[in-house]
Symmetry: C2
Subunit: 141 residues, 2 copies
């Protein structure tokens, strides 16, 4: 097993189109986790989510999150990142991020249509700063 540096961990999350798994804390303390589409912008994980979704409400109330991204095939690799979040509802930010995220996961030909589909009123742009980030590759070796 080889530990990632911060730079390697961010590069791992930015490569290809792996889904992320976003953990938040519910009001009563129970954990919540859900898969997300995301992009990496500098040291930030950027994603869209509905303001009335469980994760949207948890993020607005708690202001923090954690995410895992992994390669689920042997020899396995993963990254765990945690940090505070900033939420925006700016329409220009929403269409720009939703288009980029749509392109990452559905291909550039569908970026614009997925951007329009997802950049609707009530959607948040969430930026999680990776204050803590760790991970490794060749985990099963």
């Amino acid at each position: 097993m080889e530990q990632f540096t911060r730079t390697q961990a961010l590069a791992f999350m930015a490569q290809g189109a792996p889904t992320g798994h976003l953990a938040t804390t519910r009001e009563d303390g129970r954990p919540h986790v859900a898969p997300i589409w995301f992009i990496i912008d500098g040291d930030d994980v950027v994603f869209n989510t509905g303001s009335s979704s469980v994760k949207g409400r948890n993020l607005a109330r708690e202001g923090r999150a954690a995410i895992t991204v992994d390669d689920p095939q042997p020899p396995f690799a993963y990254v765990i990142a945690e940090g505070p979040v900033i939420i925006s509802e700016d329409p220009a930010d929403l269409i720009a991020t939703a288009t980029e995220i749509g392109g990452r996961y559905m291909g550039q030909l569908k970026a614009e249509s997925y951007g329009k589909r997802n950049a609707v009123p009530g959607e948040y742009v969430v930026r999680m700063r990776c204050d803590r980030i760790s991970g490794a590759r060749n985990v099963s070796d």
Copy 2:
């Protein structure tokens, strides 16, 4: 998008060898998430983790968890499950579950060696009962 029934969601988690992403709550309320290997036993998600790991300590203190499992390729599918956990340190339970889990992710030829590697003192067997379970397939259609 087609919602899974409970039976379909459990079958999705039991099929192939997808990693799980386990969310727990830290003592100060911050969320934690990490990838795990697991098996499905009836309505339970069963996995091993170190008693001194962040997730091991959170599980022992909080007694509950949440997990996501997904297919990260278009048209995408996912399951989210949540529930209480029961922790065992019984050596026979530990070697049995570690061997079955090793076989799932590394293949039957390596099941015994991964079972022995992972069934060491200080490891927990964790059973999370899926009190809440939901998910869908063809998410991007």
